[in-house]
Structures are given as structure tokens and as C-alpha cells.
Symmetry: C2
Subunit: 148 residues, 2 copies
């Protein structure tokens, strides 16, 4: 019996996840609704990703702009996280849409912290698929006290 | 037999939809995934709305920032629609997060076209719940040829 491994294999087969990526354990709320999302940590820092599914698409069968912005919030905001217990809120997000991601594309995103003043982080972000840049932008995020 | 009417009553009871709002018939893709959304047309123009459900929430049980931006794209972008056959893409969205919307809140949004140059529309937008402004921002949208 290896139900867990069997589930993992099935999930990877379905989403065709590149090496190094692990699924994010978001099992409730909007994070689950727009998932699954994945992340990896390497020498470039923390990169998040998702495979464009039917439930992410607009009428042109590209990733919907709302999904790309949602992913920007999640991928760029992650740059401010010191650990899993860091809570942050988004103050401003500026998103420039450069090109579309087709249904089935593997989309990746990462942010880089440009400045920190008090608990306000300015993050420069990029989202891409293969060698095509989909979105660039800037996020302003604030670290907050964790509320239980 | 009145199954249709019975379904409508059930839907309105579940989502507690204010008078004048009709559900948007988005039955596929990301529009369905983040729905249901509603809209009304009156002397103020086109207003869109949604009730914050569990599937819209972040870890603080507020509407997730990604959902609010997704809704901004849908509510502000609607200001450029002449009819249901108008297709548009988002070029840039600037979102300022002012306050959160609790689980169960009725959230409304509307955009106003500030300028049109060729097919590029600049829209000033607002999202609110009751008398609380949740987000202000600017959207740059472009009308495109409908692709079949």
C-alpha cells in the first residue's frame, strides 16, 4: 500500500511539474480555488509556478488577466517572506501585461526586494513562460503581525 | 413545473443579491472559477458585484488580494464594453489596496473612462463594500478584434 506515493505520481502526471518544484499546501480559500500552485528554492531564490488549466483561462484560452495578477501577488509577495509564519498584506500592485500564456503553459514568477523601509517592502517582479515574459511590475507589501 | 424559477430563487437566497443585480452567465474558465459575479445597469452606468465566499478568502478571512484585483479587472474593464461582443485586453492595472472585505461582504465595483486614444482606454476605478472603499486604481485597456 502506498496511497500517498500513488497520489503524488498522479498529481505530477496531471500537471507535468518540472524538477525541483513542490506543490503549495493551500487547501482552503482563494489559494485552493486558483491552485494548484508550486514553488522551488534554488540559487535564484524562491520561484513560484502553475500550469495554465481550463479553470484559469479567459475567452481566448489564455490565462485570464485576473489569474496572472493573482499569481503576481503570490509570487512577488513571497519575496518578503522570511519563513512560513510571515504574514504580509499587499498595499499596491502595478501590473504590466506584456503577452499571454496559452492553456497548458507552465508559468513561473519571482520577485526581488528593491528596498525595505520600516516594514514596507518594494518588490520588482516578473512572470514568464519559457523565454517569453508575460508580465512585469512592482509590488508594495507590508509585513504584519500574525492574527490567529 | 417551474424549475428555472426555483433555481433562481435558491441562487438569490444563497448569495443574498441586492435588487437590480443579475448573475453574469460565465460558465467556464476563470470567470466561473471566481464566480458567481453579478451586474446591474442604472443611471450610474454598469456596476459589477460579488458576495465574498469562503472560496474568495485569504488566511484572515478577508477577500484575497488576488480576488479583489481579478474583480477590479472585470469591473473596471467593463467600462470599455459597448456591447457583449466587445473584446478587450488589459495592458496595465494599478491597484491600491485601502481596506479589506470580510467573508460575507457584498463587494461592488465600477470604472469610469477618463480618455480614449485610438483603441486605448484609460479607466479610473473604485471597489467598495457599503460605505467603505476597498480599492482605487487605474486600468489601461485595449479594444481588440473578436477572435473565434
Amino acid at each position: 500500500m502506498s496511497c500517498g506515493m500513488s497520489d503524488d505520481l498522479t498529481r505530477e502526471q496531471i500537471y507535468d511539474v518540472p524538477a525541483g518544484y513542490q506543490p503549495l499546501p493551500w487547501h482552503r480559500g482563494f489559494g485552493r480555488q486558483v491552485g494548484p500552485l508550486f514553488e522551488k528554492r534554488d540559487e535564484n531564490g524562491l520561484t513560484r509556478a502553475f500550469r495554465v488549466g481550463e479553470h484559469h483561462t479567459n475567452g481566448m484560452m489564455n490565462a485570464h488577466g485576473g489569474m496572472v495578477m493573482t499569481f503576481a501577488d503570490m509570487a512577488w509577495g513571497a519575496a518578503v517572506e522570511k519563513d512560513e509564519d510571515t504574514w504580509w498584506v499587499t498595499i499596491r500592485l502595478v501590473c504590466d501585461f506584456l503577452s499571454g500564456a496559452r492553456h497548458g503553459s507552465w508559468v513561473e514568477g519571482r520577485g526581488e526586494v528593491l528596498s525595505v523601509i520600516d516594514n514596507i517592502y518594494t518588490v520588482e517582479g516578473r512572470i514568464w513562460s519559457g523565454d517569453k515574459t508575460l508580465m512585469t511590475g512592482t509590488g508594495i507589501f507590508k509585513i504584519i503581525e500574525k492574527r490567529v
